[in-house]
Amino acid sequence: MRYAETGFNLEIDLTRGNVEKVATDPKDTELYLGGLGTSAKILWDRVPPEVEPFSPDNLLIFSTGLLCGTPALSANRTIVATISPQTKLMTFSMMGGFFGQELKHAGYDKIIIRGKSPNLVYLWISDDKVEIRDAGHLKGKGTLETQGLIRNELKDQKAQVSAIGLAGENRIFYASIECGKSSASRNGVGGVMGDKGLKAIAVRGKKDIHIARPPEFMETCNEILQYMDHRLKEPIKLPDGMPVILANLGIQEMAHHDEEWHTTNFAWGNARHRRLDFWTKENEKQWKDSQENAVSRLIGCYNCPIRCGGSISQKGANNFMMKCYSKLTYTMAAMSDLDFGFNIVARAQEYGVDGYTTPQVMAFAVELYEDGILTERDMPGFPSGNEDRFYWLLDKIVRREGIGDVLADGTYWAAKAIGRGAEAYAHNNIKKTEQLPLKLGMLNPIYFLMYATGEKVNITQIEGQFPQAPHLSREDREEFVKDWIQVPNERLKEYFVNWEPRTFPHYPTPAATCEIVEWQEMMHYIDDATGVCTAVSSFVLKPPYHIHNFPKLIASGTGIEMDEDKLWKIAKRIRTLVRAVNVRRGMRRKDERPPEDHWKKRFPELEAKLLDEYYKFKGWNNEGIPTKVFLDELQLGYVSEDLLKRGVLTENIDAP
């Protein structure tokens, strides 16, 4: 009997039309938990570095987290892992919602998809019955539309359907996979799905999920529930300069009207202009009205009491559901307002594109046009109105029509194709991936390391529990740490208490910075293996889930013995394995840098020192490659063996 997980993966070969239910090795759960952890192991074992993203040999893995579907609150994430067309590296894009638990109730921990179907198909999984069905009639349909059509066709309104839209079908490098209000959006996982000829996956599960030691497990769940209740009623008192939104659990963009922090701190347009005086009384009122008109209800993901999503109904647009930050990304890229933001997301979501990258790519094109690098010849019929331009570009991109075909590969590859100096306009990438449009003054050593080395390539999925700024007075900082039970050790409290405002870049010291970054990163990797949402865990301040209660929950849920040291080591193992997949694909130190203009004040020597120390701290050599000693310590001997054989590691640079 397996607990919390099912012990089975579904293997789908779309080339041959073959379906297999395969038992998994319980030893892998002990070493890698599940979710991202076990998916990284599969990608390491089965996708060698020569395999191109759009190759039948690339795998597309939909995975539940280890705790998904159990009563563990907010454990509802589906982790989609594959080799990304955008970065050519391993990517793992995640979504909340209702897909993961449904898959587990159907009796599977993962769906592993290989090959390519000659015709567009969709997958129908209803417990033990699995069918590959024709999807010819769904070609070109929107993501929400497809979900509805499939549910009707299957006569099962409770089926959860993950679908791609036109963008995925046309292999856009930032195409998403959409499921209800949720989406796995980053780095083109939808494009890989489209390349495989897979329009959608529908799942319906009616089986039980078992818990190893129920009373103990429920005790922890109830503690978490009570703490969530407390935090929902009493937000945290934040240091000045930190956004109000971080005082709460979840990412409450649909509930909050106050957007002063985002609109004045983030850059508008092609990540260029800060508008420090934007948040006037007049704008505040207009934005509040827009949001109240559009959001008819706050909605949540499976078994999560926090409401990060919104039901959106707007005049002139189809109803849809929105989450998180996409209301602002289009608005700010187009220098427009919230009405526009809500409206264009309705269309973009049907096409199935990433709400972070897409607006930036379009703002990049507008800027190139205005500066004469792209001309009327490249973009015949390009409208003059700003909002019209965004709709026009969106329509071209998802169809790969004209200039859209170039822009569909993201700013990094598009700039190379356009030439004529366009590369200077693709200024906001890390590892070929569009970043949030933030342009700041003084180098922040903590964020420097997270940006540079994060394999998620997305800051919101790396940052989290350590405040972004200190309280002005020491007394306030001492007050803050009083109930800071989430820290792994007392040193982290000290680093915070001793943190005087405006001491970047030399505070925290590189050694302290390493520890702060490591803590934040490890908690994210634990979330992604267990399927717990970061918005009640690693992404937020003083979260309900932390290193001290996770071991008990995992142990009582699965029956696998667990303590803090062991869990920390597992998180390191997963993180190192992801890095190993990527260094085998050629990623090196030179790739680990934030956008050049991210901070005005840069310190090359300090930055080099930070990287040196962090690599050493992580057990990596000077190129960012995990050393043999460290790999062997983590029971990743098969990795060091392979890296040595390939010459990625050599014995002489491998000294720890």
Binding site: G69, T70, P71, L73, F98, H105, L144, G148, Q157, G180, K181, K206, K207, D208, I209, H210, I211, P214, P215, F217, M218, L225, M228, D229, L232, S296, R297, L298, I299, G300, C301, Y302, N303, C304, P305, R307, S311, S313, N318, N319, F320, M321
Partner: protein
Amino acid sequence: MKGEKKKKIIKIIKVDVDKCSGCRACEVICSAFHAAPEYSSNNPERSRIRVIHEPIKDVYIPVYAGEYTPAECAGRGQYTIDGKDYDECAFCRASCPSRDLFKEPDSGLPLKCDMCESDPPLEAPLCVQWCLPDALTYEEREEEVEEEVVLEEMEIGLEALAEKYGLQKIADGIARMSKND
């Protein structure tokens, strides 16, 4: 079956559909509590409360299981409230032949909310305790009612089987099963 007038505590789960976020925590905790042994497994299919939802229409209705009924309704109602259409049966709590709600997935036997009967009694049913958005709240009220004989859970199940197969078949079945033992 008529009895005397008697004071009775009426237990009420109040449902505010406007506050429902559609998270289905109620389904999770209900099915976990009613698992045997308690909390050893969970499965919304076995839950005695379900959230009927159509997200695109912004419809979310938590419905907890009421009585079993052997027959379908003669007609179907449909409601429009605040401009939103609610499908037939949306607010109905019955386990009935016209839909797959509130049926034990293995046996097909009807499920019914027991307000998380427990010894000692819980403060409130668990679906209410786990609903932090407060779409579900709990109230008790005293009422004078005529006493009636309350059927045990097994009897409810048997009654449903009898409706489906007839008493004779069930009696035969039980006789056969006891022989095999």
